[in-house]
């Protein structure tokens, strides 16, 4: 039985791909039923993943076909079915199927309906391929695939300039990371004696020990750089908040649960390689910490519900990186498993939060500015309930999922501060630990703020007289005023309910399922060590240090207190109309403005990177027009000049002249021959 699932694991990527192809080719015929092949494909893939879940083993690989036999580089299409892979597979396909079902209701009536579902299917194909792949180059190919699907999906409403530029921004920033990944692969290929890029060849002790010293430092660094772009860490996180221009299911799927976790997956998969460079691991942890803190502080003041969730995602990804970076010496296995557990639970509750936001937005007529609506808990009961569950999970309150996963990361950090003491990094990890605790408080605060601003207080529906309503000109900057939808004047052209009514069951059912998962996933998989045991079956992780770790009651208490404090503070400020937030904002105006404007990071990038690149482009254009083009044109004109201006005068038609020139030539030649 297990053999069947391992043998046919190739069906997991291919079923959604097939659905996507059918949806794309049959778009004209299927039209509003285009979701059927895609959803069916994803659900089938999920069922197969569950089967594979029980047949995982570190050595289980399936050879599917030849891809690149070039010289001494042989890259077959080979899939590995071990613990890490199957965990990711089942999570990805599960969340994808729920999001796809949600999108059936959300995107109903959209003119790009078939295109949307085809791209969803293509995305699931790329993501499952990425986690299944057994070769770095194959992973890179699927890495690019998810990047492309992200670009296409963010720019789904490509006629909106904001969406188009956000898609381009996402793609270009990801490209910067992809370059690092490519260099890492090339470097790996160069230093490996047999030039085999498969995980099986690289992630074993002998090969790793035989790497040159520079590669031991450089390759982990470059892999981290790639993960920085894909998983939105400092300095390459700037694309994620802008990616909210895409439809909400896209945000839920790609930018919460799956694509942004690809970076974490890559680092986790390459953990034996990364563990060779403890300095890089410290860097990973510090980056994760800084990112978590920065984005949490930005999320405190945002008025756009989806933006809050986006920055929250960046912050939680920072947590995962903190966990990965804590994997030094004998904390290694614990830390990486903690990071993967947080990834697992985060997928559920963040996906849930995004879908619930989408439901709110859908009910409010594509308005997402929290200041324009309030007190929706009676109007939207299911959405309210599920949003509350997700928020509690994000805040890390017992017994919701986030509590256990966040706790494990904090535990790993603390253990690393003891183990790392011997190498001088202990104090860094301790610092990171305390910053993480503070971030827990901030996380709880902004989550509860969003919840209370949306669902508590006097009931208010958005109206055109709101002071925050957009002016009649089309899409302005990255601020928080424009609605998320196909643009002013366009409506969804559908009629599922009027504004202010709860979403239809096709949208609330996935919310409920995800809420159940957010509630139970932590308890069921964490304390029971089911997750750990499953992840033990991962290839290469036996090389990581493994020590004995108990659970730390103190950490759990501190984090829970922090979370409850945050929720309480938010309740005081936002549950009822209170002047305190406004007074605080006025008192700390510079801080408030900085936080509201995302600490001007985008503007700084514009000045440092974009403007210099544009200046360089202008210089190049100038050189091209006046130097290169002139040179080419000059060369092209040279024969004509030579012929017409210089030599044509000699063809004057007079035979005597021709004879004279020949005779002169003979005479001169003779003269030269005689004398010289």
């Amino acid at each position: 039985m297990s053999g069947f699932f391992v043998q046919n694991v190739w069906m997991i990527p291919c079923l959604p791909l097939l659905g996507a192809i059918i949806a794309a080719l049959g778009a004209r015929r299927l039209r509003s039923s285009s979701h059927v092949p895609v959803v069916a494909g994803i659900v089938l893939a999920f069922l197969l993943s569950c089967g594979a879940l029980f047949s995982a083993s570190p050595e289980a690989t399936t050879w599917v076909g030849r891809w690149l036999p070039i010289g001494n580089l042989e890259v077959p299409v080979e899939f590995r079915v071990d613990g890490l892979t199957t965990m990711m597979l089942s999570m990805v396909t599960f969340v994808s199927s729920l999001v796809a079902i949600f999108a059936v209701g959300y995107m109903a009536g959209d003119p790009g309906y078939p295109r949307f579902f085809a791209l969803i299917g293509l995305f699931v194909f790329s993501m499952t391929g990425l986690v299944l792949s057994n070769n770095y180059l194959l992973t890179y190919a699927f890495w690019e695939g998810v990047g492309v699907c992200s670009y296409l999906l963010i720019g789904h409403w490509h006629t909106r300039p904001a969406a188009a530029s956000a898609a381009l921004k996402a793609f270009l920033v990801n490209r910067i990371g992809d370059f690092g990944f490519a260099v890492a692969i090339i470097w790996l290929w160069a230093v490996l004696p047999d030039h085999d890029l498969s995980y099986g060849n690289i992630l074993n002790g002998s090969t790793l020990a035989a790497l040159p010293e520079a590669a031991k430092l450089g390759i982990p660094l470059l892999l981290f750089w790639a993960a920085t772009a894909k998983s939105a860490q400092i300095p390459l996180y700037v694309w994620l908040p802008d990616a909210m221009e895409g439809p909400t299911p896209v945000s839920a799927l790609i930018h919460a649960a799956t694509m942004v976790t690809a970076g974490v997956y890559l680092i986790a998969r390459s953990m034996p390689l990364i563990a060779l460079a403890p300095g890089v691991q410290v860097l990973i942890a510090v980056t994760g910490c800084a990112t978590a803190l920065l984005s949490a502080s930005i999320a405190l003041t945002q008025n756009d519900l989806k933006r809050v969730m986006a920055y929250s995602t960046v912050s939680q990804l920072g947590y995962m990186f903190m966990g990965l970076g804590a994997g030094v010496s004998d904390v290694a296995q614990l830390a990486v498993m903690a990071a993967m557990f947080h990834l697992f639970t985060h997928a559920f509750f963040k996906g849930l939060l995004f879908l619930a936001s989408g439901s709110v937005m859908h009910a409010m007529g594509d308005v997402i500015d929290m200041r324009r609506f309030g007190g929706l808990r009676h109007r939207l009961p299911f959405t309210h309930l599920t949003f509350a569950v997700g928020g509690l999970a994000l805040a890390g309150i017992f017994p919701f999922a986030g509590f256990f996963s966040k706790d494990e990361i904090l535990l790993a950090l603390k253990s690393a501060s003891y183990s790392g003491a011997g190498q001088g990094w202990g104090w860094v990890y301790l610092l990171i630990y305390w910053v993480a605790i503070v971030t827990v408080f901030m996380t709880a605060f902004y989550t509860a703020r969003a919840y209370f601003m949306t669902f508590w207080g006097p009931e208010k529906l958005p109206s055109p007289e709101d002071p925050e309503a957009p002016r009649p000109e089309p899409g302005s900057g990255h601020g928080d005023h424009e609605p998320h939808g196909p643009g002013q004047g366009e409506t969804h052209d559908h009629d599922h309910g009027h504004v202010g009514e709860e979403s239809p069951p096709v949208m609330t059912l996935p919310l409920l399922i995800l809420a159940v998962c957010a509630l139970l996933a932590g308890i069921c998989f964490g304390p029971t060590h089911l997750f750990e045991h499953h992840l033990h079956e991962t290839f290469g992780w036996e090389l990581l240090g493994h020590g004995e770790h108990g659970s730390d009651l103190a950490t759990a208490l501190i984090s829970t207190i922090g979370g409850l404090l945050g929720i309480g503070l938010a309740y005081r400020f936002y549950a009822a109309e209170s002047p305190v937030p406004g007074q605080l904002a006025t008192r700390f105006r510079p801080l408030y403005e900085a936080s509201l404007n995302k600490f001007y990071v985008d503007e700084a990038y514009d000045w440092v990177v974009v403007k210099t690149t544009k200046a360089l482009a202008i210089v190049c254009e100038f050189l091209d027009i006046y130097l290169v083009d002139q040179l080419v044109i000059g060369i092209a004109k040279l024969p004509r000049k030579l012929g017409k201006d210089l030599l044509a005068g000699y063809q004057n038609g007079l035979i005597q002249f021709y004879a004279a020139v020949s005779a002169l030539g003979v005479a001169v030649l003779l003269f030269i021959l005689l004398l010289f």
Binding site: L654, A660, A663, L664, V666, A667, V668, F671, L674
Partner: protein, 322 residues
Amino acid sequence: MSTGQVILATLVILLGAGGSYLLLPHRHGATRSRNVHAAGAVLASLALLGFLTFFSPPSPFLAGLFFYLFSIGAIAGGLLTVTSRNPIYSALWFASVVLSTAGLFLLAGAQFLAAGTVIVYAGAIIVTFLFVIMLAQMEGKALYDRAARAPASATFTSFLLFWCLLYTLGPLHPQQYPAAAEVNGQQYAERSLVRGRNITEFYQLNEQHPDAATALAYAQRQTSAMRDASGAENEKPDVAGLGESLYSDHLVTVELAGALLFVALVAAVAITGPKRPIRPGEGPQQDAGEGGRRDPENLMSHGAAATLIRRFFRSRSFRDKP
């Protein structure tokens, strides 16, 4: 060639070039004054005298005298041919060149050629020239006779070539090179050029290059030689020997020359064609429809073809008339 001789040669060339340039027509046809002509003539004469010093006189006095006379006649006549404004004068001076050359042939022992040159050139070719000039240029000197095309470059080119030839021929001066060979026990005052019949021995071709020796032997065969095989070193009579050589060794050449002459005859008649003689000023009569248009590039134009076709049909209809 010693430095002195190089300088002399260069001087001769410069004088000659200057004289020729002054004697040639002006390039725009402007008048040259008498003084200019006189100066040119003086320069040219000086050049000729300097050139004559390059000669080594043949030993019998009379032969030497006649050699000098004929060469002066040839060169002076040549210069006058080239610089005369009247084409009739040019033709006549050319006749004098031909006669001088015939004299030189006589001195070299080629009597038949001397006579042949006079007959063919002076008799036939020059007369033909004169007839054409009569037909074509009845006004005597025309504008284009009085103008030369780029006289400076032409003079420069020709005299540069002449200088190169002088430089090449100079080293054959008698005092330059000692004897090179001893043949038949006699000391020849041979110079660096070995005579034909001694080449094989001199360069030992029989031993080193047998195939070259056979080729040379063929070239020096008895029917072509000027001397009898009897070893008496008697010269054959020129005409008889030439005839024998011509009709035994070069028979095919003679036949081909005859055929060539025939072809030239037919060609000349075909080119000019049997039609009414055309006076200058009248257009060619057959282009009746184009009266007076004389563009050579329109030979294939519609008009010409049409008129030709018309003429063809007209001539057929004429034939039907009684």
